[in-house]
Symmetry: C2
Subunit: 236 residues, 2 copies
DNA sequence: CGCATGATTGAAGTACGTCAACTCTTGTGG
DNA sequence: CCACAAGAGTTGACGTACTTCAATCATGCG
């Protein structure tokens, strides 16, 4: 685990980082939030299920996955986290899942004690943290609908749309969807097997819903068909 | 929707309610948290997916379920909430699921603006709210493992154990598990059909894992076998 | 007491998983 | 630069675990 010192201002100035939000709170001791920058290689572990919670992680680049595993090795991927996403929570003795780098990644690590101090003295910052967990919770709700009630093709379609809705910075609503993770990872996220994921992607290709560029990127050809396939939740 | 006025002190004195936690924060304006008591009959709706968020709900008695529905009617139950549980979040324009009474229920309704005010002036209270969402998130993670990676019998076993871990007040680690919801509700929670849930419960009965008292209560005969069946998550 | 709703059990079909073969990448070292 | 190996992706054949459809049995409320 490489630990390079955080360069003051390099990321703190970036809109949206926890440190920048703390700054906006305009408190005398906002300087309390001093994250360090860590780089992880593909397959490196950030923390294990059950570990003592020490840091809040903010992803700068690359993709991180959080997972839970059964005693016989079956794995469920809880979430994928990309640039701007935050992993981990204060006020908990231990973490409830494992976090692993899907690609080479760079993250900011905020010592949890600092985050807790910041929350104690800034209501704005507390609100930010609450919104972060809540956003995550809402995402997991949709994920649960996929896992529990959608057919495999609907799950894959929903997944592609979810990946598309988080486009690379600067290219909103891009039709090119990046899939940095392996087919097995997609399967472990969707509660399927890699073979099923493969077959469904091939079927989407054959029926013209998507176009294959290479195995880690697809182009959406018919957004409306894909949305219909995804069986979006009904709102009363 | 019946709205009886909240009797000062009737629930605020109870350990663990949001109002009592606010009181413990010892702030001049804790009186800002004035919940009203509502009673819902079985099948009554507390709020719909997409509704404007107006209240935080704290369950006093009965059971509430939160659900998400697909356009063709398939339903996923996100969670069951009993006495002491809190539903809903501040700082969000709208709610992300539907809440419905599974049994006749009594809940305290805290106007969201009051909760937000309370958070703004009490770091302790903010911390409580954050912990509440985070606890919910962790529960959903386990739920996702069930939905995505467990076989039906393992899901039902996990569900029985989860229900047992929240025993009626005063009887900790009770072997009698209350199941206030219908078989269909259990199925919608576990991503199965009601028939499958039925068959598995019958099978558990035949193999002596549980004993049927009546359809809404079971007695756990072999806790260890049930735990083995549930395939508890592996912690590194 | 009777009807409506929920729970249970049975029979049959199929969608997805399992097993297996093969192909396409990617990266490393000669 | 090419050869090779190891891993990831793809496709096929087959079996089965769960769903679907259907009938019967309990339960509870008017």
């Amino acid at each position: 685990m490489t630990n390079t010192n955080f360069e003051q201002g390099k990321y703190q100035g970036q809109k949206g980082t926890l440190a920048s939000i703390a700054l906006e709170a305009n408190l005398p001791n906002t300087s309390v939030l001093k994250p360090s920058e860590h780089k992880y290689r593909k397959h490196n572990i950030l923390f294990h299920d059950g570990d003592e919670a020490k840091y809040i992680y903010e992803v700068i680049s690359g993709t991180i996955k959080t997972t839970k595993m059964l005693i016989d090795g079956r794995q469920q991927i809880i979430g994928f986290f990309g640039s701007g996403d935050v992993i981990g929570m204060p006020f908990n003795a231990s973490v409830a899942c494992t976090a692993e780098a899907v690609t080479d990644a760079c993250v900011l690590c905020y010592p949890i004690v600092q985050v807790e101090k910041q929350m104690a003295c800034s209501a704005t910052f507390s609100k930010t943290m609450l919104k972060l967990v809540h956003t995550e919770l809402i995402e997991r709700m949709d994920h649960m609908v996929s896992l529990g009630r959608k057919r495999p093709a609907e799950r894959v379609a929903s997944f592609l749309l979810k990946c598309q809705s988080k486009p690379p910075v600067g290219i909103p609503n891009n039709r090119y969807v990046e899939l940095p993770m392996s087919r097995t990872d997609i399967a472990d996220y969707l509660g399927l097997t890699q073979e099923t994921v493969c077959r469904i992607l091939s079927q989407f290709r054959r029926t013209g819903l998507i176009n294959a560029t290479h195995s880690h990127e697809v182009k959406i050809q018919s957004l409306s068909s894909l949305e219909a396939m995804a069986e979006i939740s009904a709102v009363h």
